[in-house]
Amino acid sequence: MSNFFEKSDLSRKEAESIISDTLRKCDDGELYLENSKSESILLDDNKIKNSNYNSDLGFGFRAISDEVVAYSHSNEISKNSLKQSSENLKSTLKSAKGTYNHEIPKSNKKYYDNINPIEQKSLNEKIKILNDVNDYLRSKGDKVKQVTANFLGEQKSVEIIRCGGETLSDVRPLIRFNVSVMLEKNGRKETGVYGVGGRQSYDSYLKDENWKNVCDEALRIASVNLESKPAPAGEMKVVLGPGWPAILIHEAVGHGLEGDFNRKKTSAFHNLMGQKVASEGVTIIDDGTIDNRRGSLTIDDEGTPTEKTVLIENGILKNFMQDRLNARLMKTRSTGSGRRENYRHIVLPRMRNTMMLSGKQTQEEMIKAVDKGIFAVSFGGGQVDITSGKFVFNCTEAYEIVDGKIGSPIKGATLIGDGPSILKEVSMVGNDMMMDPGIGTCGKAGQGVPVGVAQPSILIDKMTVGGTKL
C-alpha cells in the first residue's frame, strides 16, 4: 500500500484534522488519494514503437451539501495544497448546515490480489512476446500487411479518508493485451482486432503461448471481413452472439439505469421502476464482485464495498445503480457503483460488469427462426442518448441470415435502437452466457473507467441496421 504522507510536509493527523474541519457541516465528502503506475508497450509496423511508463500521484477533496458538490484536486500532497483546497470547498459551501453521514458498509471480501503486474514480467519478456506476435501473424501469408500489438499494465493504489479519520483503501491491478491485424487482398483492406485482460498478472492470460489465440481471433475477424459484402439497410431481425455483443445491454439499458440520470429525471427510464421494461426471461445484473474481472472492484471510489445489483428481473425494472450522493437524494442506499477515472474527477454512478443471464434456447434455434436478418458476432464501440433512449453500436463481424441459415459476411455497420423498448423485442434468450474477453472501457462525462459485459445469444425481433444496401 502507498504511504501518501511519507514524503510530504503534511502528516496523516494534520490531514485528518483539515478533512474533519472542512466536512463537519457537510452531508458527505472525503479526501481521495491516488497513486498509480502504468506502462504501455507498443509494437507497430515491425518495430517496438513506444515504451512508456507513467507515474501519477494526487488527491481529490470533495464536500457535499444537499445537492451541491464542491471539488478540488491537485498533484501536490502538501499542507499548503490541502489547505487551499479546503478553502475552495468552504467558499462554495458557505451556508452548509448538514449532518455528516458516517455510515459506510464494511466487507472483508477481496476480488483480486495485491500485485503490481508491471513488475511481474520484465521488459525484455514483454518485448519478446510482441515480436513473437508480429512474426507469428506475418508468417500467415502475404495478405498480412500490418500488425499492431500492445501491453497496457497498471497498479492503482487508492485511499479514502472520511470525516473523523475513517480510512478505506484498495490496490487495483489491471492489464490488457491487444492485437490488431490488417489484411489486403485484391486491393481491398480490412482489419481485425482482439484483446484480453483483467485484474491479474500478464501471465494469467498469456502463458503457454495463449497469446496465439488472441492473434488467431484477430486474424479470423479480418479474414471474414475481406469477404464481406455491403450490409443491408432497414429494420430486420438481429441475432446477437454471446459475450462482447452485450455492449448492447450496456448502451441500451445500462446507462439509462445509472442513479444520477434518474434523480434528475433525464433518463428515459426514470418513471419506469417496477414496470415491465423487457421480455419475460430477461434478467440483467450489474456485478462488481466477480474475481479478477476488468469491471470488478473490492470497494468503489467512495469506499463502499461493491455488490451484485439486480437491475431487471424477469423483465421487471428493480434497481438503479447508485453512488452515495444520488442514493441519499433518492432515499435509498449506495450499490457500490460510485466510480471515477482518477483523482482529477468527481464520483459518478457507473457500471461494473453488466450481464444478461442465461435463458433456455440455443443459438441454432434463433438462427432458424429468422427469414431475413443479420447475425452479429463482434462489435467495436457503442453510444447512447440517455434522454431520447436511442443507442447505437458498431458491428465488426456480422453475417446475413437468409431463410434460417447463416449466409455471407457483411461489412461493418451501425445498429440503432430504442433503449426502453429494445428489450421487449427480445424473443429468445440463449443458454450460452459468456463474459467478454476483458477489454471494455466506458466513457461518461469525459471519464473512462474499465468495465465488463456478458450475455448469452439473443434474438431481437426488430432493429434498424445501418448498411448501404437498400
Partner: protein
C-alpha cells in the same frame, strides 16, 4: 495561479541535464501546468464547483536510435531522479528503430510570435454564477424545458517544450467556456440538446441569454420525432457535425496512417479526392484561434498549409518519425492539425436547403462509425426532414451510411463558415447517401 515560465524551464533543463548525465544521447521534455475553475448550475441552482490544478511532465530519452518515454504528475526532484533513471534504463533495453530521432535542427521554430492566445483576466466564481443565472433563466423560459444543466469554465495553461538540440520555448494560453444542456418534454417524447461557446478571451464569449435561448430552441424543435423509411437521399450536415467529416479527413492524411498503409487516402497525393470547388486549409497563425500554435509538439515550426486545392490533395500531416519513414520533411503537424477548415462555398444556406426537393438535415450523430482503413461510414443520426427548403418535422432512430471516397466527391459547401471550434466547416450537403430507418 498557473506556474510561470521560469519554473517550467528550470524543471525542463534539470531533466535534460540529468538524462544526459545518465547516458541519453538525446532527450526532449514537456512540462505543463493547467489550472481550471468550473461552476455548474442545474435547474437554476448551484450544482457543483470544481477547481483543478494539474502539473505534468513527460520525458523522452534516446540512446542512438533507441527510444523510451516516461510521464508523471509528481515534479519533485526525488521522483524525477527515479523516473529518468528508469527511462534511460528502459531505453537501453528497447530495440533500435532507424527512424527514431529528434526533429532536424533547421526545422525547429525560431521565435514564438504572440498569437494573442492568453487573456490575463480572471472571472471569479461569483461572476460565473451571475452569467449562469442569466443563461439558465433564458434556457428554462419555455415550459417544455424540464431540465437545464449549464457550466462555466476558466482555464489557464502554461507549458515549456525543450530538447537537447537547444530548443526551449512555450507560452501561456487561456480559454473561457460556457455551455448549456437542456431537456425538453411533451406527452410523447423527451429530447436533449446543447449549445456552447469557447473563446481565448473572456470578452469574446457569447452572450449568456443568447446561449440559453439557442440551447432551449434547439431542444424544443426536436420534440415528437418520427422515424422515416430507408432510402437514398441527400444529407445536409449542420456545421457542428460537418466539422467531424473534416476531422476524419485529417486522421486519414496523418503521416502515421499513411506510412502504416492503414488509410483510404494513401498514395492520393496530387489526386482529386474532393469535388472541384473544395479547398481545405490548416492555418496555425490565426490570432486568438482555438487551434493556433507557434510550433508542433516536437518544436517544429508550423506554416499554413493548403491541404486540398480545388479538390486535389496536396499535403499529408507529417511529423518527424513518419516523415523519415516516408522520406518527407516534417511540416510541423506532430499532434495533428491547428485551425483546420473548409474554405466557405458559394451557395447560401437557404439555397442549400432548396437543392433537393427532399433531404435530411442532420444535427447530431452517435457512434464511432468512421473507418479510415476502408473509408466506410455508418452512424446513428437525429435531425429534420427538409422538403422544398423547409424543415418539416424532426426525425430520429435512423442511421446514415456511405463511403468517404464517394462522399468527398459529392460535397457542396454553403457560404456560412465561422470559426467556433479548432476545426470548422460551413454547412455541407452530400448527395447519394443511404438512410436506414423503418
Amino acid at each position: 495561479m498557473v506556474k510561470d515560465q521560469e519554473f517550467l524551464e528550470k524543471k525542463a533543463s534539470y531533466c535534460l541535464g540529468l538524462a544526459k548525465k545518465l547516458g541519453a544521447t538525446d532527450s526532449s521534455v514537456v512540462v505543463k501546468n493547467s489550472v481550471s475553475e468550473t461552476v455548474n448550475f442545474r435547474n437554476s441552482k448551484l450544482d457543483e464547483s470544481n477547481r483543478s490544478d494539474d502539473l505534468g511532465i513527460s520525458i523522452t530519452t534516446y540512446i542512438g536510435k533507441k527510444k523510451s518515454s516516461i510521464s508523471s504528475s509528481n515534479l519533485l526532484n526525488d521522483n524525477l531522479n527515479i523516473l529518468i533513471e528508469k527511462c534511460v534504463e528502459t531505453t537501453k533495453n528497447t530495440p533500435e528503430d532507424e527512424f527514431n530521432s529528434l526533429p532536424d535542427k533547421d526545422l525547429l521554430a525560431k521565435e514564438a510570435r504572440d498569437l494573442d492566445l492568453y487573456d490575463d483576466s480572471h472571472i471569479a466564481n461569483d461572476q460565473k454564477i451571475d452569467y449562469l443565472k442569466k443563461l439558465e433563466a433564458a434556457a428554462s423560459n419555455d415550459k417544455k424545458i424540464v431540465n437545464t444543466e449549464s457550466s462555466f469554465t476558466q482555464n489557464k495553461s502554461n507549458f515549456v517544450l525543450a530538447n537537447s538540440e537547444g530548443f526551449c520555448d512555450g507560452y501561456k494560453t487561456s480559454s473561457f467556456t460556457a455551455s448549456s444542456v437542456t431537456v425538453a418534454k411533451d406527452e410523447k417524447s423527451m429530447e436533449r440538446d446543447y449549445e456552447y461557446s469557447s473563446k481565448c478571451f473572456l470578452k469574446d464569449l457569447d452572450d449568456a441569454e443568447e446561449l440559453g435561448n439557442l440551447a432551449a430552441n434547439q431542444t424544443i424543435r426536436k420534440l415528437n420525432p418520427k422515424k422515416i423509411g430507408s432510402e437514398k437521399i441527400a444529407i445536409i450536415f449542420d456545421k457542428r457535425i460537418a466539422k467531424g467529416i473534416l476531422s476524419t479527413f485529417a486522421s486519414a492524411i496523418s503521416s502515421s496512417a499513411i506510412s502504416r498503409g492503414t488509410s483510404f487516402l494513401k498514395d492520393k497525393i496530387n489526386q482529386k479526392i474532393f469535388s472541384d470547388k473544395i479547398n481545405v486549409f490548416d492555418k496555425p497563425d490565426m490570432l486568438k484561434g482555438l487551434g493556433s500554435r507557434n510550433f508542433d509538439t516536437e518544436g517544429v515550426k508550423t506554416d499554413t498549409l493548403k491541404l486540398v486545392d480545388e479538390g486535389i490533395l496536396k499535403h499529408y500531416l507529417i511529423d518527424t518519425y513518419n516523415g523519415k519513414k516516408l522520406n518527407l520533411k516534417s511540416n510541423g503537424r506532430c499532434g495533428g492539425t491547428s485551425n483546420l477548415y473548409f474554405e466557405s462555398g458559394n451557395t447560401s444556406f437557404k439555397d442549400l436547403l432548396n437543392s433537393d426537393s427532399k433531404s435530411l438535415y442532420i444535427t447530431e450523430t452517435i457512434g464511432h462509425g468512421s473507418n479510415i482503413v476502408t473509408g466506410d461510414y455508418s452512424v446513428g443520426a437525429t435531425g429534420f426532414l427538409v422538403e422544398n427548403g423547409e424543415f418539416k418535422y424532426p426525425i430520429n432512430e435512423i442511421t446514415i451510411a456511405g463511403n468517404f471516397k464517394d462522399m468527398f466527391q459529392n460535397i457542396t459547401l454553403a457560404n456560412d463558415l465561422e470559426f467556433k471550434y479548432p476545426t470548422n466547416s460551413p454547412t455541407i450537403l452530400i448527395e447519394g447517401m443511404v438512410v436506414a430507418g423503418k
